[in-house]
């Protein structure tokens, strides 16, 4: 096909799965020279995964990657760089302790030799001047001293800089998130210039009008698949939002309609956007694109309502972790110990652990939420991810805390387990417990009585009752629709 032979990078039928989760389910994506491809989708759509495949960080389990018409068998990070593929990541990928010039040296391996400082300074300064004219950044500054916007500018300029291998395909993943309007404008203008000169760009953003006006072609992803692919002029704001949502089922009504709005307020918190309140027995969802401040709110709620110096007999809040490895399981311990750690106060007398009671309680909860293990004394890591997550739920629910904070706990959990846990949550809420639930999955958010939608660290919308639906949530998560 003529099409493939010209493409800078062509991914064909790529499949990637992490455990039970299919991150990419047969994605075909081609990027032509002189083209800007906009890539949109809600959480878990597979945007970051396809980016990793293109920049060589991830090898797809099925499917092929081709460049300039030839199949690339051993495609890795270095091969991608040699082909001129550059990437601006969401997280900071510069060394904060080095100066801008020194970071340029790290990024371009073949810059060495006497006088490299002058050369590196020239390369990065040229690039900064081209992308952000009048930027006012001194290239001898340490990256850690820069403001977040300046770091982002340097990172973008680094991707467009040329030290031998010219950039041909630049992937921009939420590049404007910390730039103000005029800087974002400069960057978008540069993208157009780069395209006009024959370069290619993959552009990911939650600000829809940027996507619409900068891209030539827009690819909409959902659940690891490409669900729509059209020329940019064939889309408008509402069309995009609709394409990102589910095509058929809008089976709302799962959430208890007309929530208990008269119940007493158990928690309120001032945030940068709308105020946050929670009532007894409510299930409250925190929605929006991942990383827009939901976890921070949960951590703040936990920090203000739990002590760090003295043990507490009656904890107010308890926490179910999403990142199990980082702040969830204790890897060296048995299932039983992992389960009981949060409720030891109730299982002890004068600091002494009552082993019998601990065991009895463990056995009780093992039955209640069906942890599939022959022996609660087995190590926690002997369990599957889903069952580990159940243990974490049991840990939180077995405390007497009236408020349960959940930090996207269902990431990578199989469907059966999810349904079981949903039932438990609804039962516990009916008994008067409050759940504050950050979730990146639309099905879960729809289970909530009330939902706060986050964007850029603020609460942008509060949805309740029937207003909790996919369309409203996506509309509030992306900028430029609400008006």
């Amino acid at each position: 096909m003529n099409d493939v032979s010209k493409a800078v990078i062509a991914v064909d039928g790529a499949k990637v799965s992490f455990g039970a989760v299919k991150a990419l389910d047969g994605v075909t994506l081609r990027v032509m020279p002189g083209e800007c491809v906009g890539l949109v989708g809600h959480n878990g759509a597979g945007k970051s995964t396809i980016v990793s495949v293109i920049n060589g960080g991830l090898t797809p389990h099925a499917g092929t990657v081709a460049g300039d018409g030839e199949q690339l068998e051993r495609y890795g990070i270095n091969a991608a760089r040699a082909r001129g593929v550059r990437c601006v990541f969401q997280e900071l990928s510069l060394c904060p302790n080095l100066s801008i010039v020194e970071n340029t040296r790290i990024m371009h391996r073949d810059l060495g030799g006497f006088g490299w400082r002058t050369r590196a300074a020239k390369i990065i300064a040229t690039s900064l001047d081209t992308v952000f004219p009048g930027h006012g950044i001194d290239t001898s500054q340490t990256v850690g001293d820069l403001s977040i916007a300046e770091r982002q500018m340097v990172e973008i300029a680094m991707a467009f800089s040329n030290a031998g291998t010219a950039p041909r395909l630049v992937i921009l993943d939420e590049p404007t998130s910390s730039l103000d309007a005029s800087l974002a404008r400069q960057m978008l203008d540069h993208v157009r210039r780069f395209i006009a000169a024959g370069g290619s760009v993959i552009f990911i953003s939650h600000i829809l009008h940027e996507i619409l006006e900068t891209s030539d072609r827009i690819v909409v992803m959902k659940d690891g698949r490409v669900v729509a692919e059209r020329q940019a002029q064939d889309f408008d704001h509402h069309g995009l939002v609709e394409a990102m949502g589910s095509v058929a089922k809008e089976d709302a009504g799962q959430h208890s309609s007309g929530g208990p709005s008269t119940a007493p307020v158990v928690l309120s918190h001032k945030t940068a956007g709308l105020p946050f309140t929670a009532r007894a027995g409510e299930i409250i969802g925190l929605a929006g694109l991942a990383g827009h401040g939901q976890t921070e709110l949960l951590l703040a709620l936990h920090a203000t309502h739990s002590g760090n110096w003295l043990p507490e007999r009656d904890p107010r809040v308890t926490f179910v972790a999403g990142d199990r490895r980082l702040n969830g399981v204790f890897e060296l311990w048995s299932i039983l110990r992992n389960f009981s750690i949060a409720s030891l106060g109730d299982l002890s007398r004068r600091g002494l652990i009552l082993a019998d009671e601990e065991e009895a309680k463990g056995a009780d909860w093992k039955r209640r939420i069906e942890i599939r293990t022959p022996d609660m004394d087995n190590r926690i890591l002997s369990l599957s991810g889903g069952n580990q997550q159940k243990v974490l739920f049991a840990r939180a629910l077995s405390t007497r805390a009236p408020i349960v904070l959940m930090d996207d706990p269902m990431r990578g959990v199989d469907v059966g387990t999810k349904q079981e846990v949903y039932t438990i949550i609804r039962d516990e809420a009916a008994r008067g417990r409050t759940f504050i639930w950050y979730s990146t999955e639309m099905d879960e958010v729809r289970l909530c009585d009330r939902v706060y939608v986050f964007r850029e660290g603020r609460i942008m919308a509060e949805l309740a009752g029937d207003a909790v639906n996919e369309k409203n949530i996506i509309a509030a998560s992306f900028e430029g629709v609400a008006a």
């Binding site: 110096w309 926490f319 972790a321 702040n327 204790f330 060296l332 002494l352 405390t399």
Partner: protein
């Protein structure tokens, strides 16, 4: 799993095996001559590193980066001040113990307040505190060598039923530490913090309180060890603690405690401490000098950590 196999799964068994092998090799060379004497000497000298090592173990259990470098200075200061206060009078023995414990508490408090207030890693906080404590010890000591009260000197150098008294003290402390570690909430908490501080925090554990208590405990054990050591050796010397800086860390590592934190065991400290002393006497018996002994100690520490590190990586 058969009981024997399960025994070999314990992390502390290796240090015990090593200690026994070395003991056996020494005894065979001396043809059983000084078996009792050797065992008693081993128990006596090991007792001090056991007491210090248990404290260091609790701190290391708190996770990567946690270590108490003020141990030797605390030992010296506690020994010096207590002997000075007791001034060879048997009636002052109890106040002497109390003042040693208070010194431990103060040092521990300084350590953790610096860690917390200046937000510096424990290693640098305990290092700065140890400089000051060391100076305080030099200043109180002034080169005088005050003898311990006679009762105390007798107690620390004699045996009960053939077992050295200091070893009995170490045993009591070990049982207490084992009890804390295995049976109490506190033990669970430090193990949880050592495995993952954020996870411990999110599980509702009072992390700062627990860490403070642990640093206090370590410093108090160091001062008790210093007190006993000063009485045992007939007076406090300025360099009496210096050997115990590396020793306290070494017995923890050799004893099978996870250096990455979260997993510790008391029996291993005993095996490692006995081993460390017995290696010295074995090499002496074979006519080898201190140099070889040090090199062997170092190689053993490195091989232990490489084996342990490998095991951990294999689990992942």
């Amino acid at each position: 799993m058969s009981p024997v196999l399960r025994l070999f799964g314990k992390p502390w068994i290796w240090s015990w095996l090593a200690a026994f092998v070395v003991w056996f090799l020494t005894v065979t060379v001396s043809l059983g001559g000084g078996t009792l004497g050797l065992s008693q000497a081993a128990l006596t000298f090991a007792a001090f590193s056991i007491i210090v090592g248990i404290g260091q173990m609790f701190v290391i259990t708190l996770g990567p980066g946690n270590i108490d470098l003020s141990v030797p200075a605390t030992m010296t200061l506690a020994g010096t001040v207590a002997l000075k206060l007791m001034n060879v009078e048997n009636g002052m023995i109890l106040p002497g113990v109390l003042v040693a414990i208070v010194i431990g508490l103060v040092v521990g408090l300084c350590n953790y307040s610096l860690i917390k207030a200046l937000r510096i890693p424990p290693i640098i906080a305990t290092l700065s505190v140890s400089f000051i404590v060391q100076s305080a010890a030099i200043w109180t000591n002034r080169g005088l060598r005050i003898k311990p009260p006679s009762l105390l000197a007798d107690f620390t150098t004699s045996n009960t039923f053939g077992i050295p008294n200091v070893a009995i003290v170490a045993l009591l402390i070990s049982i207490f530490a084992w009890f804390l570690l295995e049976k109490t909430i506190y033990g669970r908490w430090i193990s949880a913090i050592g495995q993952s501080m954020p996870a411990a925090r999110m599980a509702g554990i009072p992390v700062d309180g627990t860490r403070l208590v642990t640093y206090l405990f370590c410093a108090v054990l160091a001062s008790v060890a210093g007190y006993l050591l000063a009485c045992f050796s007939g007076g406090a010397a300025l360099n009496m603690g210096s050997e115990y800086l590396l020793m306290s860390i070494a017995v923890v590592v050799i004893g099978g405690t996870a250096v990455a934190g979260g997993d510790s065991n008391v029996p291993g400290i005993w095996g490692a401490s006995l081993f460390m002393f017995l290696v010295v006497s074995m090499l002496n018996t074979y006519g080898l000098g201190a140099g070889i002994r040090l090199i062997m100690t170092g190689l053993i520490i490195i091989s232990v950590i490489m084996l342990a590190g490998g095991r951990r990586a294999g689990m992942r």
